[in-house]
Symmetry: D2
Subunit: 299 residues, 4 copies
């Protein structure tokens, strides 16, 4: 008869909505983030006996998140995440590993009478910048990223020559709309760098290749996007890309005597293709726990 | 004993997701919209007896929406909406009134190596532009608008001197974060105008006043925003504003020996203040059915 | 030159998430609600001059909502809403009208070893019960309702004999799936009744008629549902129904040599038909402000 | 200089919304599901050269999903998922592994005049049943599960004796509301079983232990829930549980002279505790690719 045992566990406080204003000069600065903490270690006493003596409450994790935004500052989400992760691992006895996930929402300054306003912003609304900082007894890992980058090209995309079977009804096409809501996550090989500069550069490279590559398949475009990032940024060891194929179906207008030369589309919701790929280096350092997700390890 | 009778009815096809590409030159243009149609008239035979002979199917309304994007073109949502509404009222016998609601999602051109790309765009993600065109036997009405314009100022906002009762615990403040996700809808007094130019101007005026008015109350800011729009645009008869007060609570860091001079906030989700105001002209023409909503007349 | 003036205004605290436990005996009871308050009156000083002396803060409204759940109790959302609305109008000088909107989420008792558990519940997850109580100097109005009641019949529904034009491609059908996510709101002619009993009865009648009526059109079904409610409940003056036609498209399997006798469907998201109807009495008392919505009067 | 290489890839069609009606007798049956397919293998030619000759289009995967609902039938999501996964791996040359994720939405029969209606249903709205079937050259794995099971107990829960540090402000409590929206996934050690019976049994055991365990910590409750499932079902090798602590904060009514003996709560949205745990057997067979998620391997 088998014994029933406790396996892996983790816990934390998810989705702390911190807004940090820097107001030392009349021209304020703003950082707007959503922070989730996740602690790992031996918390079996809490699970098996309800004994909390090794459990730092998730409420305390929340207080720390807000306190650190002032005490340590919040200038980049990667540094802030690392600082929090180091604190939990180094300062809280029972914690052996910590992962901090952060989403950042960008704001742009309101332009009033041709001038950037010193303390008014409009939420930018485009992609969300993400970071995951993991610290444990073995080292430190940072994964940068972005999500919800909705991007579309109205030509320069084909899909033909594919495998067919008895359930295939799709017609090949040599001109279609290609659109996705990109998720990308890149693993850094170090932690000493200008995070903002690299972020801007990665986003720019991703967009550039999406635009420039004549696409024979979304798979091909994804690979070229990832490769361009690795070519440009030696500090990045690996990049993972996840791309829903947001189908834009050419609407059949021939029934009404109208031509439709890829001019009118129905943007469909579901189902959608979902393509995922990793692009990496042959000599990439080990990933360690960098990809051990907070939510992802269960559905 | 009372008789049970059929009251007001309306029906249509909601949320047609039309994407229109103009590709007559290598520099393409894109319009990305969500269109809802709504027909009014005497459809009692369908309700009382299941007799559809006066009912233009919602599927036909959908086909028309897509066909018109090609046949009539889609250059502004206000004109496109009017064209659809006129068609249903003038060309379909039993239809006595039509309302077309449209949301438009803006895209910006991808910038590749310093140049705007001719056929690649990133979804802008900021506010959604809206339009509602209503046509009936009496005339035509257009309501322009925007929603989801998330705007914040980190100083220049007070809330003090308010009414108190035995349930009041709020402390007055002379410096707070003021943030909202603005919904604005403005009723035009005519239909012959440059819709894009007015839209840009209205948005600019709203943002400008939000930034410039030293706010003693969000109510005051809303009124000033609405007034500025009416002052600048004589063609606008009335503007309605709805603004959730997206509370940013100053986090209490004193427990940790830290000062918090309006630097660290918790951005709360619910509950939120919700303020609504109409700013109008004393000689505004009658609104007719301009505000008879498609969804709004029930919850 | 026209003068610019302030029109209608209203303000309140939206989405207070109150959970009320009754625990006077070991068998607890639970009510789980989302309350929005909305005050009306002359608040022009706040709008025009930023003078808050007549403005009861939305924070105070929130405190009152929670305090009343204890002080006055929460046994039905209709009574609780009325009590709050009366308080704001009668006890707070500048308030001339108040509307309280409430959503209620039902819970069912966990069944453990065949017994209902005294203090454990599972959220029921089905329809949301709604109520809107409005009080002003003229009287009191209650609108009961439900939303998100997702209901489907797999036969007994036709759609044929409809009006056609040059954009019509739909084929008539004599057997289809009919499905909707029903919103219904009914206006009471009084306030002295057993709210829970009427609610259960109305829901039951709506479901019964949806099932029993052989549907020639969703319009017809809606009318029959509304009529049945009015026939059964003389205290209800009027009912409004809003029903998206959640399209279930029969999937074309003939390409694979398979028959599909209404067995396999694609449940589509958008677009969808949206049908709305009012069923009322010829001698219904005036609606007054019963339908002046909190959110709905702007988009 | 490192070489840039393609790593792991996968692709499929996500969120096919299939509704299957069995109508061989007047008493119909309904299954309502959301199916996502995911294929694995060597698709490097598509990524590196845009060569699709080994790529079965996601559109074909969609067609197969719908066709199989008729051709093979849909009586349990676990069997249907396995059948699809086997097909892709065994019948489509280049496919080496397939994972099928399915969500199922339950419907309950409408009760009309005391009788279950033969072809009308109300969507149940409670938890979503999930299944993930993975097939590759090594074998077959099925993970059953549920999500969105919102469950609450109004007493019988403590949280005290926890670790404190300089950021801890939380007070211990010996009576609180405990609520979560449970996600559970259990890995089967075989594929020959009565899926529906086990599902009902697992859900029942989870609810039972949540109710019965006097909780010293949500961690403890989760472990006891998982353990009870493994004790009852030898065919289950492992169970993973993820539970947001849906905080219900006791509202401070003392400011209004009111007692609040755990009677009035604010149900907060964010942040929330998030606890995750695996309960397993010491002799559980290897998990293989059972937990290689479709979406989860990136953010």
């Amino acid at each position: 008869m088998s014994d029933i045992i406790l396996g892996k566990t983790q816990y934390g406080k998810a989705e702390n909505r911190v807004v940090r204003i820097y107001r030392d000069t009349p021209r304020h600065e703003i950082r707007d983030i959503n922070v989730s903490t996740c602690l790992r270690g031996d918390f079996s006493a809490a699970h098996l006996a309800g004994d909390q003596s090794d459990v730092l409450p998730t409420d305390t994790q929340k207080q720390t998140v807000y306190a650190y935004a002032k005490e340590k500052g919040l200038t980049s989400i990667e540094d802030y995440g690392l600082t929090l992760a180091r604190h939990f691992v180094h300062d809280v006895g029972p914690v052996q590993g910590a992962r901090i996930d952060i989403d950042e929402y960008a704001w742009e300054r309101a332009v009033v009478e041709g001038q950037e306003h010193p303390h008014t912003w409009i939420r930018k609304g485009q992609e969300v910048r993400t970071a995951a900082a993991t610290v444990d007894g073995e080292g430190e890992w940072v994964v940068g990223g972005l999500k919800d980058l909705v991007i579309l090209k109205s030509t320069g995309s084909e899909f033909a020559g594919f495998l067919t079977d008895e359930y295939t009804t799709l017609e090949p096409t040599h001109d279609r709309v290609l659109a996705t809501s990109l998720v990308a996550q890149w693993r850094f090989a170090g932690t000493d760098l200008d995070w903002d500069e690299v972020y801007a550069g990665v986003k720019s490279r991703l967009v550039q290749r999406f635009a420039q590559v004549h696409s024979l398949a979304l798979q091909q475009t994804l690979y070229e996007m990832g490769k361009a990032v690795l070519v440009s940024f030696p500090i990045i060891a690996e990049i993972r890309l996840s791309a829903p194929n947001k189908h834009h179906f050419r609407y059949d207008l021939s029934r009404f005597g109208l031509e439709n030369n890829n001019e009118v589309f129905h943007a469909d919701d579901r189902p959608y293709g979902l393509l995922q790929a990793v692009v990496t280096r042959d000599d990439a350092p080990p990933a360690g726990p960098a990809w051990d997700l907070h939510r992802g390890w269960i559905g």
